[in-house]
Amino acid sequence: MYILIAGGGKVGYHLAEELLNENNEVLVIERDAGRAAQIRDELSGNVLTGDSCEATTLDLAGVSRADLVAAVTGDDEDNLVICDIARYRGVGRTIARINNPRNELLFRKRGIETTISATQAVLAQIEKELPTQLMIPLLQLHNGLELVEIKLPETSPVAGRSVREVLLPAESLISLIVDPGGVPRMPSGDTRLNAGDALVVVSRKESLDMLREQLIGSTHGLDT
């Protein structure tokens, strides 16, 4: 694969290193000449000095034959411009790093396939360590789907009900139930939900608040 990486900061550099190790053809585009020289030394070439927001720089990098463009600069506006120009030049897959989670919707609407938000990753990491956290983000899937773990509290409105009786948001699915003893079960319609169960649920990102309300109930700011 030919992969273009726009932005030679920490994210771009380590990404390039990994992808080179996997025998891909990689080119890093970095605006700062000093930083570019540093990368050139460390990655033995594979770097172009220039502004990746300029179409001429992307053309020089052979953007039209790239299989993938990863825009990982620290500025969301630059990453959007880079991905949009790359797509305009015919690149099939573009990935943008986004720094402000609220910008994710815009990238999705622009058809930029995957967005990685450092803020969100850190947030997920923090949330994993909070014992009071009843809904834990596990994994972001494609197409706006997300895998979350939900621990049913004593006060859960669905405790004691069967899976069939639970009304979930559209396109949501309880895919696994782990009981308090740590035994995993594939749920069927008759499976009874109990307080203390951990549910692994696939849902749409925008439905997560509704999902939380339906499975956990009002949590009075415990885990907002």
Partner: protein, 137 residues
């Protein structure tokens, strides 16, 4: 018409003044409060201090009920980003975007925005001026 102008520089403040005098409701966004001095005392519109790429700033400026959005900051990429946000996320009907770089301007236009490049426009006008009689002062 409800118009939001992002960037209260020379061009932004001038456009704001013209539209305000024409009786439109104008809201100007700028990161610096000091920039609003360019609007002058007679300006009757709203001023919002903040980053126009931030959804919450746009919402404070009333983007949800705006008829038009004009992106006129110094940054081409910032202007593009906010314009797409106004267009794609908030469904604003008219979105005008200033882009200095003529190459980017053409691409942004192909990508569906109404763009204006003072660089290519200015170049054309100055060449035309040169080829005609000097203007009398």
């Amino acid at each position: 018409m409800n118009v939001i102008i992002m960037g209260c520089g020379r061009l932004g403040s001038r456009i704001a003044g013209i539209l305000d005098r024409q009786g439109h409701h104008v809201t100007v966004i700028d990161a610096s409060e000091a920039a609003f001095r360019r609007l002058g005392d007679g300006f009757g519109g709203d001023r919002v201090v903040g980053n126009g790429m931030d959804a919450s700033t746009l919402e404070r400026a009333g983007i949800e009920s705006a008829d038009a959005f004009m992106a006129i900051t110094q940054g081409d990429n910032r202007n593009y980003f906010s314009s797409q946000m106004a267009h794609e996320v908030y469904g604003v009907k008219r979105v005008l975007c200033r882009v200095y770089d003529p190459v980017r301007e053409e691409i942004f236009r192909d990508l569906g925005l109404e763009t204006f490049s003072p660089t290519s426009y200015g170049a054309q006008i100055m060449v035309d001026m040169l080829m005609h009689e000097p203007a009398r002062r």
